[in-house]
């Protein structure tokens, strides 16, 4: 990087012109994303729970250097591989890193968003009850309605009334058969 050597912006530093001041500001912006170990712009960036930014290869090497005392290199709070968060910038997926001789950086952990709708009674008993009703009753109702549809003629009313109990018994039997099949077939 071609950084201009600039003087520190303290009260007793030499007077600097505007272009140098701009350079300073740019430098400060870059520094915010510098790895705290190699001091370069963080590659394969990870961030600790205490908020400090590192290249994953750098942090990995630091943790390997003292496996018994894993402390944040900046603030010395406890740190571990499991507790660092990778930072994914836009369009920066898996670019080859020259120091990539270390295990891949830990991946991010995704948690499903909480929906907040009433999933309350999703117990075992409830669930099985709903399922048996649904499968048992659905074809039964469908066939009954189909039968009703075919016999819309008022003259067939008597026949329908006679056949009604028989058909309902057949469907009841079918329903029980289905239930038995479900219980013993599984």
């Amino acid at each position: 990087m071609n950084r201009k050597p600039t003087t520190a912006s303290s009260s007793n530093s030499l007077p600097t012109d505007n272009s140098k001041n701009n350079g300073d500001e740019k430098d400060k912006g870059d520094q915010m994303f510098e790895c705290n170990i190699c001091l370069d712009t963080a590659k394969d960036a990870v961030i600790s729970m205490c908020g400090h930014l590192f290249c994953w290869p750098c942090l990995h090497q630091w943790l390997e250097t003292r496996p018994n005392k894993k402390l944040c290199p900046v603030c010395k709070s406890g740190i571990s591989k499991e507790k660092v968060i990778p930072l994914y910038g836009r369009g920066s997926t898996n670019q080859e890193d020259p120091r990539n001789k270390v295990p891949p950086r830990p991946s991010g952990q995704r948690a499903e968003a909480e929906t907040g709708s009433g999933f309350g009674g999703f117990g075992f008993g409830d669930g099985s009850f709903q399922v048996s009703i649904g499968i048992g009753a659905f074809p039964f109702n469908l066939l009954v309605s189909a039968f009703n549809f075919t016999s819309h003629n008022p003259s067939d009313n008597q026949v329908e009334n006679d056949r009604g109990p028989v058909i309902s018994k057949i469907f009841l039997f079918l329903a029980f058969a289905l239930v038995f099949w479900m219980i013993f077939g599984l």
Binding site: P5, S10, N36, I37, C38, L39, T65, R99
Partner: protein, 199 residues
């Protein structure tokens, strides 16, 4: 040297050069070779201490495993301080040993050394003789440290009495360093110092 170490020293070097402390002439770093493994540091003696007005040179060796391991630092300028060997310049400071952290830099190390000079830790000494004097005879410690600063680091405070005693010892065949170490260690008791050297 490993790439990461030299790259980092390069960056740190710039950081030190641009830092406020350099503007105040309080710390300084010089490169001694092209591969950034040997440096010379300089720190000003902190104000309101016996080291005030002195310039203390440091030898800084950067290991290949830097920054995962600390740089090796010792005083080239002789110092009278409980945590710095009056003979070798070796430093007893936790961050240069097990308390090192990879985010520390040349600048923070030099500032830490300045802080160590301002507040000694006599309970974790590098030089037991100095630490004993610091605890038992604080006034003698201060004047002795001032005298050392005057002789080796260019400080302005010294005691004529001490200078005369050193001259006496040099008159009977001691060199200056030997005389100063012996007298300082014996709380400026001339007879004890002579006994220590010739006994």
């Amino acid at each position: 040297m490993a790439n990461i170490a030299s790259q980092r020293i390069k960056r740190e070097f710039k950081e030190v050069i641009r830092s406020e402390e350099v503007a105040r002439c309080s710390i300084k770093v010089e490169l001694l070779d092209d591969n950034y493994s040997q440096l010379k540091g300089e720190i000003a003696g902190p104000p309101d201490t016996p080291y005030e007005g002195g310039k203390f040179l440091l030898e800084i060796k950067v290991p290949e495993t830097y920054p995962f391991n600390p740089p090796k630092v010792k005083f080239l300028t002789k110092v009278w301080h409980p945590n710095i060997s009056s003979v070798t310049g070796a430093i007893c400071l936790d961050i240069l040993k097990d308390q090192w952290a990879a985010a520390m830099t040349l600048r923070t190390v030099l500032l830490s050394l300045q802080a160590l000079m301002a507040s000694p830790e006599p309970d974790d000494p590098q030089d037991a003789v100095v630490a004993r004097q610091y605890k038992g005879f604080p006034e003698i410690f201060i004047s002795t440290a001032e005298h050392w600063t005057n002789i080796y680091a260019g400080g302005s405070r010294k005691k004529e009495e001490y200078s005369k005693k050193i001259e006496r010892l040099m008159g009977i065949g001691c060199n200056m360093d030997q005389a100063l170490v012996a007298l300082s260690g014996c709380n400026w008791d001339l007879d004890k110092a002579i006994e220590q050297i010739f006994g």
